[in-house]
Amino acid sequence: MPSGKTSAKPSVMRPVRDIAIVAFGQTDHLRSTDELSEVEMLMPVLHQVLAATGLKTSDIGFTCSGSSDYLAGRAFSFTMALDGVGAWPPISESHVEMDGAWALYEAWTKLLTGEADTALVYSYGKSSPGSVRDVLTRQLDPYYVAPLWPDSVALAALQAQALIDAGDTDEPALAGVASRSRQDASANSHAQLRGSVPQGDYVVRPLRTGDCPPIGDGAAAVILAAGDRARELCERPAWIRGIDHRVEAHSLGVRDLTDSPSSRLAAERAGAFERPVDTAELHAPFTSQEVVLRKALKLGDDVSVNPSGGALAANPMMAAGLIRLGEAAARIHRGESDRALAHATSGPCLQQNLVAVLEGEPS
């Protein structure tokens, strides 16, 4: 793969094998799920995607998950969740300490090698045990930034103000993003915030409650399959035509916070700009981040952005990015989209970005 240093025009990476998302499931996302352990929260979702494909856990070629110990405050908490996938006798399994979208990337890579034909990808997060605004400060540069404890809303607010100063948006426009997202979520029974939600007071100015994602618990799962196996398992598979992820310099003061060159580069490598998409599921937990992403990904007004309601309607940490891929795929499964872009992010102010292009075959 060409490195970021090359000045040559980036080339689109062509998958060597056709791989599709063939099933997607998610929990209802709730503010708190004290009565459920993580595996108890996860298991119904795993059963949902297995039932949709008729596969048993023992049929799955590769399992990959995403989660973070910091959310629950317990080391190796993901190993407990493995009980839910029947990890005995031993299975081929991996874990990323990140959103499940990155677990999907790893699973996709595994299928490309031909070592497996099917993969189960799941992710989950319970933000309710802790204070997620404070927890996320621990992912920041430990020398220069983390000792100041800047919380996730504060960092997003710095980005929002930069956009306002640049004339890219204003507070009413951000409120419009919030309102549209939660109205769209009215049709999403899994969403945590739906319908008319007050924009509320400032959390960290210029961001109000309505500009921020709800804090909640949830899980999601998808099944990937290659080639003919995908056609056997799903009437209209959502083929992954390209997928790529890129990262910005970690120091916030080095970046232009009004832009997301990493999203744009990932989209370019995933082939997103070759033909228009009809749907875009963007992982933009803050209203202002949708403004950045729409520009970086060159999305016109004719593209249906976050018809699920997006992360502003439900943002279970570590699952919200995988859900963007799942929601985009589900729209293709249902015949509501022919070509969709799915995006996932991680880190402060859109630090890391993953873009996938999904397509359904003409039916």
Binding site: K5, E35, E40, G73, G86, A162, V204, S251, V254
Partner: protein, 319 residues
């Protein structure tokens, strides 16, 4: 033994606290030592830009960079956010603005706090200067915060050797996160049963194995377990070890025996201490029972029951 309604979910405070000790490379060491001496250092990139705060590798070319320069303690706000409710650990207790500040002479911005009389007094482009902490140790918090500044603009960055007496070579990054732990339905039932000096597991509806402590799922079948089953109190030692090193703060004389115990009716062994028998006489197959102490939340240890040893075939699947 039928599945019972879920008892009220348990909750307990859980504090995760750690003082990470981190070493500094030459650039970070110079920068943080400089702050202690009220000197702000940046580093030149391959293309001649000045990065403040400095890093050891060029973010564009990945080249190793070591060319330090001194920049001003005055600068310009490039973006800001008004924080009317400061949180624990943040630089100021009273409402303040988070700011990215491009110091005079720097090409990149530093994140910190700005002490300003109110949000109406803050804007992008405003001029600010560093307010130094009274006591400085070589940390980013040696900058107490920024404050509004109306004075001349600082000059060009000046070369700096980055050499100080008694350089700071490491930091202790203290972190504390507060959680409320809820163990979930299955483990709540297990802990509640222990308060009645009973041990409960859950049976898998598919393979019928009884897991203890129950976690709500069968790791073999990948399905939810729901049927609650009381196991024990007696059990069989499946394997054991002799502990010869005394753990800190542990009030148990060494050597002692730590064992896996398959409680009667359970398909998974628990672990516990064995006492009431010389340590060198503990053996696989030994039949044991729990010993409770007053007010304890779990058995203090297990002791021999005096029954004949169990046949290996009865517990070999659990070793």
């Amino acid at each position: 033994m039928a599945s019972a309604p879920s008892p009220e979910v348990l909750r307990a405070p859980l504090v995760v606290e750690f003082p990470f000790t981190r070493s500094l490379g030459p650039v970070q060491s110079a920068f943080l030592t400089g702050l202690r001496e009220r000197t702000v250092l940046g580093v030149k990139t391959t293309d001649g830009r000045t990065l403040v705060p400095p890093v050891e590798y060029d973010p564009v070319t990945a080249d190793e960079i070591r060319d330090l320069v001194e920049v001003s303690a005055t600068g310009t706000v490039t973006t800001w956010a008004w924080n009317h409710e400061p949180r624990r650990g943040q630089p100021l207790d009273a409402p303040f603005a988070w700011v990215l500040v491009k110091l005079d002479g720097a090409d990149t911005a530093l994140l910190h706090a700005l002490d300003a009389p109110g949000r109406d007094s803050v804007r992008t482009g405003m001029r600010v200067r560093i307010r130094w902490a009274a006591e400085r140790t070589g940390a980013i918090t040696d900058i107490a915060c920024f404050e509004p500044y109306e004075g001349p603009t600082g000059g060009e960055p000046a070369p700096h050797a980055g050499e100080f007496s008694d350089p700071v070579t490491g930091i202790v990054a203290a972190a504390r996160l507060d959680y409320t732990y809820a163990p979930g339905r299955a483990q709540t039932a297990y802990i509640k049963a222990l308060s009645d000096r009973k041990t409960v597991g859950e049976r898998c509806p598919s393979c019928h194995k009884v897991y203890v402590p129950p976690r709500g799922a069968c790791p073999t079948c990948g399905v939810a377990t729901a049927e609650r089953v009381e196991v024990g109190p007696r059990g069989t030692v499946t394997t054991y070890c002799i502990v010869n090193i005394k753990a800190k703060n542990l009030d148990i004389e060494v050597p002692y025996v730590y064992a896996h115990i398959a409680l009667d009716g359970a398909d998974l062994a628990l672990h516990a201490r064995i006492a009431g028998i010389p340590y060198d006489q503990v053996r696989m197959g030994l039949r044991v029972e729990p010993v409770w102490t007053e007010g304890a939340r779990f058995p203090d240890h297990y002791r021999p029951t005096g029954e004949p040893d169990a046949d290996y075939d009865t517990y070999k699947e659990l070793v």
